[in-house]
């Protein structure tokens, strides 16, 4: 029997108080996520249970019990406090998926800091944009990423502390840089956690939009309520599970369900800190007898490409429950997973802003391959008209809208309350995704309602890439769109007009790709560049991305009455 029981009956008797009660939380109590994921689990008699099984790319394996994780998080919290960092300070985690990343996240929360995880693949430009906006006070990183931090630190007056978790002493550290070794520090057995209340800020995740710079979605410690109960009901986590969430904590899935949801449920989880290879992924599941697997459509489709034979080379019989997140899971992938694993991947839908799963498929509920599923119990969702933002009838495409008030909802965009408020219309939070609802109440994803590119489950803002492209000496102007892709859903495509004196060539193509990859991130790197003489613009000079996209996909261009120039 699944934890959720029957979805239909759970809809009738659900309230968030179920989660509050299970977590022994009452309104007004202290609710520090760091404490809930470590100390509380130890008090429940699980201190010797494995919390983390970690495997690095060279094959080394490290295992930590909940008690060891508790002490490591304490030690980091104590260290950060000792540096003079205080509650409310934004502390960035800029690391690969090392154990220190996970313990650091919990340690930051324990001392009352606001954890700001960023992808370690980010280049200096992506990094400075997010650190500057957040006024980040400290960054925890590895020596392999230190040079990127050094390139920008002088432009970040708020950044006072750079903590290197694996400093080897080969090159001298500079002012503001300190070496920290979790295994060598004096363990802090008891640490007085910061008495976080429900609305105390916890995590700041940056997300990209159509225009402007990335925005920091601010979450609070009360998000635990949603994350705990949705991990229990959707991921169906049980005490004896071995859980693998493949997401990087630079992405909200990697924190909401790669840290908080799983460990608040006291579940053992695995982390593979290595790049994607079908052989090593299947080997990892077999080696650690993974039972619950939460991954992304891009990875699932990449596994599909590798074929069925490689699956048969591994004993994957431990798997009992599979879920997917990041972008719509196509029906073919669901059918394929049933064929090769004997289990369907259940699609789940949510966003950085929602903080927890809001629409999903559930254990025991009939799966309609290709559907997003139904709203999570306690979530009131609908589809609203594109213009009036009023709920619309069954089968009609509109915008997914959620009634505000669920525990993990973001509380603001950091220093951008105006944009935050603009997301709420007619009493609904407007997700920015188009969908329809069928006669059985299932949601069907149609696409984004803006120009944001969803590549491999990650949102990339075209404006940020266009701005960076302009910094290349050869680029006069550019327009960036998401080009449909069979594996990544979309990939970044750039249309570029070169400055006089530069001619299109393979070499300049490669140079521009690498320029963006290093400046922003591999995700933002155009996978394809098309050189054009000029770009379609409105009379006010704004590049019309929808025209570029329509031209790329062969769709109707629509109203181009505001177009300044011919195509």
């Amino acid at each position: 029997m699944a934890n959720i029981g029957s979805y239909e009956s759970k809809l009738n008797d659900f309230s968030w108080q179920i989660a509050e009660k299970e977590l022994d939380y009452k309104p007004g109590d202290i609710i520090n996520i760091g404490e809930y994921c470590t100390d509380r689990i130890c008090r429940m008699g699980k201190k010797d249970k494995l919390a983390l099984i970690w495997k690095g790319h060279s094959g080394d394996i490290k295992k930590y019990t909940f008690d060891q994780m508790r002490v490591h998080a304490n030690t980091i919290a104590h260290y950060l406090s000792g540096l003079g960092l205080q509650n409310g300070d934004r502390i960035c985690l800029f690391m690969d998926k090392t154990p220190e990343l996970y313990f650091g996240f919990l340690g930051i929360l324990k001392m009352g800091g606001v954890a700001q995880p960023l992808f370690s693949a980010f280049g200096p430009e992506s990094l400075i944009t997010r650190l500057e906006d957040a006024g980040t006070a400290a960054i925890i990183t590895q020596k392999k990423h230190l040079s990127k931090v050094r390139k920008i630190v002088n432009d970040l007056p708020s950044l006072k502390n750079i903590i290197v978790v694996d400093y080897d002493g080969k090159k001298p550290l500079k002012d503001g840089e300190t070496a920290f070794f979790i295994e060598k520090e004096e363990p802090i057995e008891n640490y007085d956690i910061f008495p976080a209340k429900a609305e105390t800020p916890s995590v700041l995740h940056y997300t990209s939009g159509t225009t402007g710079k990335p925005k920091g979605a601010q979450h609070v410690h009360y998000s635990l309520i949603s994350q705990y109960i949705s991990a229990k009901y959707v991921l169906d986590l049980n005490d004896d599970d071995i859980y693998w969430c493949t997401a990087d904590p630079g992405w909200v899935t990697g924190t909401s369900y790669g840290i908080i949801g799983a460990w608040a449920n006291g579940v053992t989880q695995c982390v593979l800190d290595a790049g994607f290879k079908a052989q090593s992924w299947y080997g990892f599941i077999e080696e650690h007898k993974v039972t619950v697997w939460y991954s992304a459509p891009t990875a699932i489709r990449a596994l599909m490409k590798e074929g069925d034979e490689i699956v048969k080379e591994h004993d994957l019989s431990s798997l009992r429950h599979l879920c997917s997140v990041g972008e719509p899971l196509n029906a073919e992938a669901v059918i394929w997973s049933e064929k090769v694993f004997g289990l369907p991947f259940l699609d789940t839908f949510w966003q950085t802003e929602t903080g927890s799963i809001v629409i999903s498929n559930y254990p025991g509920m009939k799966v309609k391959p290709g559907s997003m599923g139904k709203p999570f119990p306690g979530i009131t969702a609908t589809v609203v008209d594109l213009k009036t933002h009023e709920p619309i009838e069954t089968g009609v495409v509109g915008l997914i809208a959620i009634k505000p008030g669920w525990p993990a909802m973001f509380r603001t965009y950091w220093k951008n309350e105006k944009v935050y408020k603009s997301k709420f219309i007619n009493g609904w939070y407007i997700c920015g995704d188009r969908a329809s609802i069928d006669e059985d109440g299932y949601y069907w994803f149609v696409g984004r309602d803006d120009d944001v590119i969803n590549t491999g489950g990650h949102l990339v803002g075209p404006f940020e890439i266009e701005s960076a492209l302009l910094e290349h000496e050869a680029v006069a102007e550019s327009g960036v769109i998401g080009k449909p892709d069979p594996v990544n859903m979309e990939v970044v495509k750039a249309f570029i007009a070169l400055k006089a004196g530069f001619e299109p060539s393979d070499m300049i193509n490669l140079e521009i790709m690498n320029f963006i990859r290093k400046k922003l991130s591999p995700l933002a790197m155009p996978q394809e560049i098309e050189f054009v003489d000029s770009l379609p613009k409105t009379r006010s000079g704004k590049i019309m991305r929808r025209v570029l996209k329509a031209r790329e996909t062969g769709e109707d261009i629509g109203d181009i009455s505001t177009l300044e120039n011919d195509l």
């Binding site: 290595a274 994607f276 393979d506 490669l510």
Partner: protein
């Protein structure tokens, strides 16, 4: 042989590694599974190989396994008569 391998290794060091790590890789170092080159960055590595060695690598050949070390890439290039 070693000229080609060295050229690829130098390119990877220059383009994908930070200064601190440049001494740490060799012809056998796992590039994809080792997290040095991710699936998105594989595209620019593929473009580099195509431009440098004047070949067209079909997507079916440009797999994470084929790109997982300099030695693997060299073997792939051999299939296209690059020696």
């Amino acid at each position: 042989m070693s000229d080609i391998k060295n050229a690829i290794l130098d390119y990877i060091k220059n383009e994908y590694l930070e200064e601190e790590d440049e001494d740490d890789i060799n012809f056998d170092t796992p590039l994809i599974s080792g997290g040095i080159v991710d699936s998105f960055s594989m595209v620019s590595l593929k473009v580099f190989l195509e431009i440098t060695y004047k070949i067209q690598l079909p997507d079916s050949k440009a797999t994470p396994e084929a790109f997982d070390s300099v030695n693997n890439i060299y073997e792939l290039l051999n299939e296209f008569n690059v020696q």
